[in-house]
């Protein structure tokens, strides 16, 4: 840590070097069988999260960001989906090798997930208190009464007003923001080491979004959990993430500490995303737009998947798949935690 040449207040460096990450994904491949052929949704993803760290996975629809999360949680729709290759190490142990019964025991006490649509993720026929309490009854064998008390305590934790009187209410009786809080409470119930939040605030209004993101960040710090935040919103990421992995067509194309990524992207896709955000000084001008359409995963382009849309693509980009390589300063000093999958990352980052 002391050798780090990045200023100490950069949160990405918070975890101590050498510490085993809570989660490490290695060379993960996920495929889906469809009528038209095999869709390669995830093609060799690597990332890791340490305790207390927030990794944001940024990508558009079809980039494979949610599928990766489902594979980690073991809730992949299979068939048609299946993990074709790779390892998912949870505290050093490859959970893909575990029997299903063992994996089920991980979900809840060890890792939990928060979904975008809380209304459909909660069961409409059971009260909120019942669903919260179920976590304790099933996993810890608590009595009904104790479980209910725990449920109320949790609802208090996530700042739901009048928790005691609302514990018997059903999901539809809560507003969108409150339902998302209940989802968070459920995920937190057994104090897992890892939380995966898949677009947790996308369905919420801006003013409520801020409340929920703040709550999530606060609780994460308190419980010292690893958090994987899956999103398409560059704004949300900037506010809470320590490091960012940008996904495109089932691969990570760039990974960097949050400040660095915004300041000096090392991949043209990241650059394009950042440039297409409307800015004050560009008012009245045309917005920068990444041309073309997201790739079709049935027939991904040869070479770099982004090459058909890339303004800087050369011949090599269309024939050779660029590997994910470490990124360094102009003088050769390594930029810790930075990688890019672009043949021309040097030109991209150093101009």
């Amino acid at each position: 840590m002391t050798t780090s040449h990045v200023t100490a207040d950069v949160p990405a460096q918070r975890g101590t070097d050498g510490e085993t990450p809570v989660l490490e994904v290695r060379d993960l491949h996920v495929e889906f069988k469809t009528r038209e052929g095999i869709v390669k949704a995830v093609n060799g993803v690597n990332y890791s999260v340490k305790a207390g760290e927030t990794l944001a996975v940024l990508g558009e629809s079809g980039s494979g960001k949610s599928v990766t999360a489902q594979a980690i949680m073991g809730i992949l729709d299979s068939p048609p989906g299946r993990v074709a290759k790779g390892e998912i190490l949870f505290k050093g142990q490859d959970i893909l090798q575990l029997p299903e019964a063992e994996r089920r025991k991980l979900r809840g006490p060890k890792m939990a997930m928060i979904f975008q649509d809380a209304l459909s993720a909660l069961n409409p026929v059971f009260s909120v208190g019942n669903q919260l309490g179920e976590m304790f009854r099933v996993h810890q064998g608590m009595s009904k009464k104790d479980a209910k008390a725990k449920a109320i305590e949790l609802m208090d934790r996530v700042k739901i007003p009048a928790a005691r009187s609302r514990v018997g209410d059903y999901p539809h009786q809560f507003s969108g923001g409150m339902r998302q809080r209940i989802m968070i409470a459920m995920a937190l119930a057994l104090e897992p080491d890892l939380i995966i939040a898949d677009e947790p605030t996308t369905a919420l209004d801006v003013t409520v979004q801020a409340q929920v993101m703040d709550l999530l960040a606060e609780l994460q710090a308190e419980y010292h959990m690893g958090l994987i935040l899956i999103t398409h919103d560059l704004g949300v990421v900037a506010d809470v993430a320590d490091k960012i992995a940008v996904m495109y067509a089932g691969r990570i194309v760039e990974q960097a500490p949050v400040h660095e990524l915004y300041k000096r992207p090392a991949h043209p896709y990241t650059r394009g995303l950042l440039d297409s955000i409307p800015r004050l000084d560009q008012k009245g001008q045309e917005l920068y737009a990444i041309k073309g359409l997201p790739p079709n995963l049935l027939k991904p382009p040869t070479g770099c998947a982004f090459s058909p849309r890339c303004p800087k693509a050369q011949d090599i980009c269309r024939t050779e798949l660029p590997p994910l390589v470490p990124v360094s300063e102009q003088d050769g000093t390594e930029l810790v935690g930075r990688v890019s999958a672009c043949h021309f990352w040097k030109e991209q980052i150093h101009g």
Binding site: V236, Q282, A289
Partner: protein
């Protein structure tokens, strides 16, 4: 379901309306004037014999002007009534009260031929490109439908060419004319929807969240297209969205809605740099800024609680339940949308319409 039919149909002189809407409006002059628009959806009980037990006040007295050639952005959170305003302006819903003047003619009372003539000039782009195109019609039939309904716009033999021209204008291959909507991606479908809206050569296009269903990298393409078309066809836009940065990029003026009412309206600079309504200030401060450096040096106002139900809005100012400035007066007296007393006659950007008893400036958006 049926077209809004007004009883005093005979009272409207069709030829007078047709003459009025033929008139050209100069750039910058008001083309659409909305006055005290109200839409209450009745809440009923009972199966056979329905009795009204209340009303959802979706839109509750909204007034604004749209000037020729400009883009008026309307922002607000879900349930604030912005989409209902769009439907009222499109005459897809019947207003409970209030008027919409198009070139001086109140169009809420129109029916039959006069209504059809007005429809030619006001068109709409929908939010969801997956549900706004009939899945059983080809692209050619979808974009050509306006010509079937208004045959005077394009003679029969000319239609195929016209449709192909429109496809070209929105950046799609004109040879796609025989394909079905499901064969296109979201962004391409939205272009088809825009082409349909353009077919009749309208003067006003009402866009209800036109890019919010699209991928980030595709949003910019569609926004640029809309900007280009505005210049090319001299269009006036009402741009309804919840994404504040996109609204700022495309709008000349912006209105902020809360719970069926307009909270604040002004030029984009007035609203974004000098907001005086606490709701606008909170909304702007809550927007996640895609710049980690900026998060340190900006103040964030985090509102507590949720938006109250429009079926049972608070007395007085509807924002007072979440407002940190609320006082006794706010619960008794609904503030009117006007230039606040303290800024009246001053040459300051804060002197714009704001519906707050205690309007004051607050710097929210960090300067990039």
């Amino acid at each position: 379901m049926a077209e809004p039919i007004k009883k005093d149909e005979a009272a409207v002189d069709v030829t007078a309306v047709e003459a009025a809407i033929e008139r050209k409006v100069d750039r910058g002059e008001p083309i659409l004037q909305v006055r005290n628009l109200v839409k209450h959806f009745p809440l009923t009980q009972g199966i056979l014999f329905k009795k009204q037990v209340g009303a959802v006040k979706a839109v509750d007295g909204v007034s604004f002007d749209l000037h020729q050639g400009e883009t008026l952005g309307i922002v607000g959170e879900s349930g604030c009534g912005k989409s209902t305003v769009a439907k009222l302006l499109m005459l897809l819903e019947t207003a409970t009260a209030g008027e919409v003047f198009y070139k001086g003619q109140d169009i809420t009372k129109l029916s039959g031929r006069a209504l059809k003539a007005v429809r030619r000039n006001i068109q709409m782009v929908f939010q969801d490109p997956y549900t706004s195109l009939n899945p059983r019609m080809t692209v050619g039939d979808i974009i050509g439908e306006p010509f079937d309904i208004h045959p005077e716009v394009a003679p029969k033999g000319d239609r195929r060419r016209k449709v192909q021209e429109l496809l070209d204008v929105v950046g799609l291959n004109p040879e796609y004319i025989n394909r079905y909507p499901h064969q296109f991606s979201g962004g391409q479908r939205q272009r088809i929807g825009i082409a349909r809206g353009l077919a009749l050569n309208p003067e006003i296009i009402i866009c209800d969240e036109p890019v919010s269903a699209l991928d980030v990298s595709v949003q910019a393409q569609v926004i640029n297209l809309m900007g280009k078309l505005q210049d090319e066809f001299n269009l006036s836009y009402i741009f309804i969205a919840h994404d504040l940065s996109i609204v700022r990029h495309i709008s000349d003026r912006v209105g902020v809605m809360y719970l069926g009412k307009m909270a604040e309206i002004g030029t984009d600079e007035q609203i974004y740099e000098h907001p005086t309504h606490p709701y606008t200030q909170a909304l702007l401060s809550a927007v996640p800024v895609p710049d980690p450096e900026a998060r340190a040096n900006r103040e964030r106002i985090i509102l507590t609680g949720d938006v109250p139900s429009p079926a049972n809005p608070p007395s007085g100012c509807s924002f007072r339940t979440r407002c940190w400035k609320a006082q006794e007066k706010c619960s008794q007296e609904a503030p009117v949308l006007a230039v606040p007393e303290r800024f009246k006659g001053q040459d300051t950007p804060a002197a714009h319409s704001s519906a707050c008893h205690f309007a004051e400036e607050k710097q929210i958006v960090p300067v990039h």
